[in-house]
Structures are given as C-alpha cells and as structure tokens.
C-alpha cells in the first residue's frame, strides 16, 4: 500500500484561490502558484485545483495557470472544472496536469468516463462525487454544486454512482460529503465507509476536516487512501507538517 496522502484543495475562481462555507459565499484566500508552492513546501502529497464556477457557466479551465503550476510544482496535481470532453481533458493534461477530475459533466453523460479512460488510461481519470444524505436517509448525488442557485438533487444514489463510475473507468473517486463540508466537524465516516465498500480504486475523503484527529479517523476507520481539505490549510488552523507528525504517531503510514 502506498502512503496515505494529504491533499490540499484549492478552489479556483477567476485565477484566485477561494473558499466558501457549505459551498457558498466564496472569499479570496490567495494566488494559485503561491499557495501551491506553500503547500508543496509544507509536505502536501498532491494538490487538487477545482474551478468551482466552470461547470455551471459552461466555461473551460483556463490553461494558463495550469501550465504555470506545472512549471514550478514537483508533486502531482489534478485539475477539475469544466472538463466535458476528451479534447478538453487533453488540453489540461498537455498543459502539465497529472490527472483530470470530472463531476457534473460525467453525470450529464456517463460515457464521458469511458471515453477519458480509453484516451488517457484510468490513472488520469478522477471522478468527483458531491453527495448529501436526503430526508429518507439515503445518500444521493448533487450536480452543479459550484453555484448554489443551480445545484440540483439527482435521483442517483451515491453508492450506485460510485460503483458505476469505477466500472466505467474512474481511476480514483473523490467523495465530497456536502453535509459536513466547511463546518470542520469531521469527515463523514459512516458515508465514507459505505462508499469504501463499493469502491475498488483509490478513495479520497473530502468535506469536514477540522482537526488532525479527523484525518486519523478517516484513515483508520474508513480506510480512505487520501484526505482532502481546504479551509483548515488556507486558514493555517492545521499545518501540514504538524498534521503528518500526528498521523505518523497514530500509526498511519505517511510520506516523510
């Protein structure tokens, strides 16, 4: 097993890194390249950049900053947002991204996952899943979450969608538990455990990190391969090097 990964997530809008609470009220937290370098230096294992407004507005990822990041960063990074075709993915990968992540466009047209896996190999293809528990107790998928006014609740259950995405050629799943996102009360361990059961590829936990113990819980109780967080890193609440020390002491294998 590879080391468990710590992944800062940089939500990008208009060339800046932003962060909102519960997907709303986004505030600028810094420049893309500056934050990427800072997290690399602190020991981040990978970076994810989400262009959070791209899908709802039909925009494409601006390749300019992808190339700027690729020039300076020597750890892997993934780009998400507005990738809705093999050609769109090719542009981002050619600009230097290691992986591309699709979310809403894959829900619109699930064949996109198959096409991307065929064109680039499953190792490049990440499927992001935004999930929320409905009143009937079932986790279901949400679409267009970058813009609260356009977010849609779908009939698809999260577990069925994750299994289908893996069958179609997803090489990794990022599960964003929207009910816990931004409120720092811990990852949704119950939901992650359930998804872990149906997910044979690497699984990334997202949404809810507030303290180092939340990361330990996700790795030890939900067996996730990586844990993604944004606000606790941007705000400096958790320093990645301190977090990794605590994980190591808790017996979680972490890259030195």
């Amino acid at each position: 097993m590879p080391a468990r990964r710590i992944i800062p997530c940089l939500d990008v809008r208009d060339g800046q890194v932003v962060k909102g609470v519960r997907f709303r009220d986004h505030a600028v937290v810094g420049g893309i390249v500056e934050l990427a370098l800072r997290y690399r230096d602190e020991g981040a294992d990978e970076l994810v950049f989400y262009d959070i407004t791209a899908s709802p507005e039909g925009r494409r990822v601006d390749r300019d900053w992808v190339e700027r990041v690729a020039r300076v960063i020597d750890i892997p990074f993934c780009v998400a947002g507005g990738i809705r075709s093999v050609e769109g993915a090719r542009e981002v990968l050619h600009a230097g991204a290691d992986k591309i992540s699709v979310n809403s466009p894959a829900l619109e047209r699930p064949d996109l996952i198959d096409e991307l896996a065929t064109a680039f190999g499953v190792q490049c293809v990440v499927v992001g899943v935004d999930s929320l528990r409905d009143d009937d107790g079932t986790w279901r998928v949400r679409q267009y979450t970058g813009d609260p006014s356009k977010t849609q609740a779908l009939a698809r259950t999260t577990l069925a969608w994750v299994a289908e995405a893996c069958d179609r050629g997803a090489g990794e799943i990022v599960l964003n538990c929207m009910g816990s996102d931004g409120v720092r009360q811990g990852y949704d361990i119950e939901q992650l455990q359930a998804v872990r059961e149906v997910c044979p590829v690497p699984l990334v936990a997202s949404g809810g990190a507030g303290t180092p113990s939340h990361f330990i819980d996700a790795f030890t109780h939900a067996d996730v391969d990586a844990a993604l967080a944004a606000s606790v890193f941007h705000a400096g609440t958790i320093a990645i090097d301190d977090l990794k020390d605590q994980l190591r002491r808790a017996g979680v294998e972490i890259r030195a």
Binding site: M1, R71, V72, P76, V122, R255
Partner: protein, 197 residues
C-alpha cells in the same frame, strides 16, 4: 550540459517532464525526428496512457527501429518504461524489447487498490550510478495498473501487494515506473543522476 530530447510521439504529459528538466537547468527539446533523437546525448521516452496506443504512435512515427538502435542513455518513464520491455499484458502488446520481461497487470486482491496510485518507497537492489544518493526511505509517486516483475535487470523495487520493478537498467536503457517529475526531491535527484550518466 546534456543535450537531452523528449520523444514526442503524440502522447500526453510531455510538459511536466520537460519542466522537471528545466528545474535542473536542462532545456529538453520535444521531437519525433529520428535524426534529432540519434544526435542527442540523452533520450527520454515519457508516456502516460495505455500500451497499445503508445506503441502505435511510435510505429506511426517510424521510431521503433530508431529507439531500439540508440547507444546513448535512454530513460523510459512510467508507460515509457513498459514500452522498453518485450511486451505488456495491456492489450497483449508487443513493445520495443530492449529490456527482457513483460509488464503484468496487478493481481486483484482484497484491499489492494488498482491502480497503484500514490507515494511508495524504493528498495535499491543493486548499486548503480542512476541510484546515487537514493536511500531506503526514498519516496516516489506512482500511478499505474501494470508493472514489470522484479528480475535480473531490476535496479530498485517497490511493493504494491508484491514487489515489482520500480527502476530498471540494461546497458544504456533505463526505466522508472514512477513519475520522477512528480516525485519531489527524490525524483529530481534521479533525473539529475540520469543526466550525469
């Protein structure tokens, strides 16, 4: 200074290898021109994706015999390393055959995630200038579903379920299954070592 070229037969992710070399001060030219490749001091064959289209692109670019005939140091990265082997399980593909062996798919085992994606340590198995300065705690970044079993030409192994070839070398042909361009300090050191060969 090394005159390094990156073989660009139309695959993806050429850019990040080129940037990693730039960070080491080496300006690598992207080329599919046989004469330019033959004239280089060092040749890197990158590759992301699947073996069948990877070999198809090399055939279409008339590079199969060119690459086989090179005498200067040649480095295959990730899929590029598998293309140096005799064959791959992936699409039952015949590869360049400059290093013996066949890339095999990881065996599905409960708890073993495929693809092997993430940071794993290297275990050097024989001393080699390519591995100078690389200890047992050297972390490198992998993303792959196929791997060459450990064998005579293995210079370092990593383990995902079972040990496999992470670094190979036979004569002037070398391969790294991980992505040195995305393996932080360890990756930079390995690329610098390659350019020093």
């Amino acid at each position: 200074m090394a005159d390094v070229v990156l073989v660009d037969a139309g695959g993806t992710n050429i850019g990040s290898v080129r940037y990693a070399l730039l960070r080491l001060g080496a300006e690598a030219e992207l080329t599919a021109d046989p004469e330019r490749i033959r004239a280089a001091s060092h040749v890197i064959l990158p590759g992301v994706g699947a073996a069948p289209p990877g070999m198809a692109r090399l055939r279409e670019a008339n590079l199969v015999q060119v690459l086989r005939g090179l005498a200067q140091p040649v480095l295959g990265v990730c899929l590029g390393m598998q293309l140096l082997c005799e064959s791959s399980d992936e699409g039952d593909t015949l590869c360049l055959g400059v290093v013996p062996g066949r890339a095999r798919r990881f065996t599905a085992t409960p708890g073993l995630r495929i693809p092997h994606m993430g940071w794993t340590t290297l275990q050097p198995t024989q001393p080699h200038p390519l591995l100078r300065g690389i200890g047992e705690d050297a972390w490198t970044y992998f993303v792959h579903s196929f791997a060459l079993p450990a064998g005579e030409h293995t210079l370092a192994t990593s383990t995902h379920g079972e040990p496999f070839s992470a670094v190979i070398g036979r004569g002037n042909f070398f391969g790294m299954q991980f992505h040195p361009e995305r393996s932080a300090r360890t990756g930079a050191r390995l690329l610098a070592n390659f350019l020093d060969l």
